[in-house]
Symmetry: C2
Subunit: 202 residues, 2 copies
């Protein structure tokens, strides 16, 4: 199944070009398992979710460690009709989709509890869109239940859920939300914003 | 029907706070027809689509006129289950949903052709998500056909469509995409990024 994301990094600084170029070095350990293609709006990242989310984490943390207020936006998608199948996108781990909702939620929370920690505090908000199914809200409500017990839940907002915590468990939570809810082979999209060093955070 | 957006403005400058605060003045003419609520990640804007998209245009253009590379992201939604109905959200104009797809595309293109021009060149990319329906791709393909003939089509990308042109017709195109495709009363979400003054644009 084709899976990937359009990713944009926004350092709020006069030095934004150098910060972005410097942060791209953090993708080196992941580069052989991803396909990347950049234009002036975003970078297309194609690869399995288990590689994409840690790669996004490392890219964002590299920029955030400059202490500049930085945000990143990702439009993440899998199973999009019309996209070619791609060997690079094969999931690394087994699917959990034969499990009941309660067991999927428990397995996802366990994965977050074991996530690598980065010592970089971040905020995030996400919206999950299971497409082409009649009961999309059942999967969304299941995902929201997972998020509330993820350990990085901040609050519910209109149209999205806000998270806050160490970048390790936050990105693991984003990855679990993307892979554990919605139809296993269906079309799922996710709209994600992450933020660090905001002067507005109390 | 409840409709609104979570909007974030990102000026890539050391002066990002002043640029954001200055741009907010551009919302004054729209403020009595919108409900706004800001936190450290985004501003919730609640109101009818016919007010939201021009308001977003004016907010973004005010920041872009500083000549700083600025982007804006919006998670736009209507008909979301669980959201309260809100009198402020009533559409201003009549719905076009009793028209066939070809007529909806023609009416949307006509609206874009008559859009106010701003003399501010911008780029944009959008993804449209019609939720809770089985044939979501039919409406997406209809929307893409509209976008290709909108006069501001740039190119197709993975997971999104890129636009480029004057901010007036570009935001009118975004508004038409949001209101003219997908079920009239159904749950529709849109993921939008706009950009101006990028040093990467040839």
């Amino acid at each position: 199944m084709f899976s990937g994301a359009q990713i944009s990094l926004y350092p709020m600084s006069d030095d934004f070009v150098d910060i972005i170029l410097g942060a791209l070095n953090a993708l080196e350990p992941w580069r052989d398992r991803l396909r990347l293609d950049t234009d002036h709006l975003s970078t297309l990242m194609v690869g399995p979710p288990e590689v994409m989310f840690p790669a996004m984490r490392d890219l964002f943390c590299a920029a955030a460690r400059t202490d500049v207020h930085t945000t990143m936006h990702a439009t993440v998608s899998r199973g999009c009709p019309g996209e070619p199948d791609d060997p690079i996108c094969q999931p690394v781990t087994g699917q959990k989709r034969d499990m009941r909702m309660a067991d999927r939620i428990a397995a996802s929370r366990a994965a977050v509890a074991h996530a690598v920690r980065t010592e970089q505090d971040i905020a995030a908000q996400l919206s999950l869109y299971p497409l082409g199914v009649g009961h999309h809200m059942d999967e969304i409500y299941g995902c929201i239940e997972f998020l509330k017990g993820s350990g990085v839940f901040d609050r519910s907002k209109n149209f999205c859920t806000a998270l806050r915590g160490d970048a390790g468990p936050v990105f693991e939570t984003l990855g679990q939300a993307f892979t554990s809810f919605g139809s296993e082979t269906g079309h799922i999209a996710m709209d994600v914003t992450v933020s660090a060093n905001s002067p507005s955070v109390a």
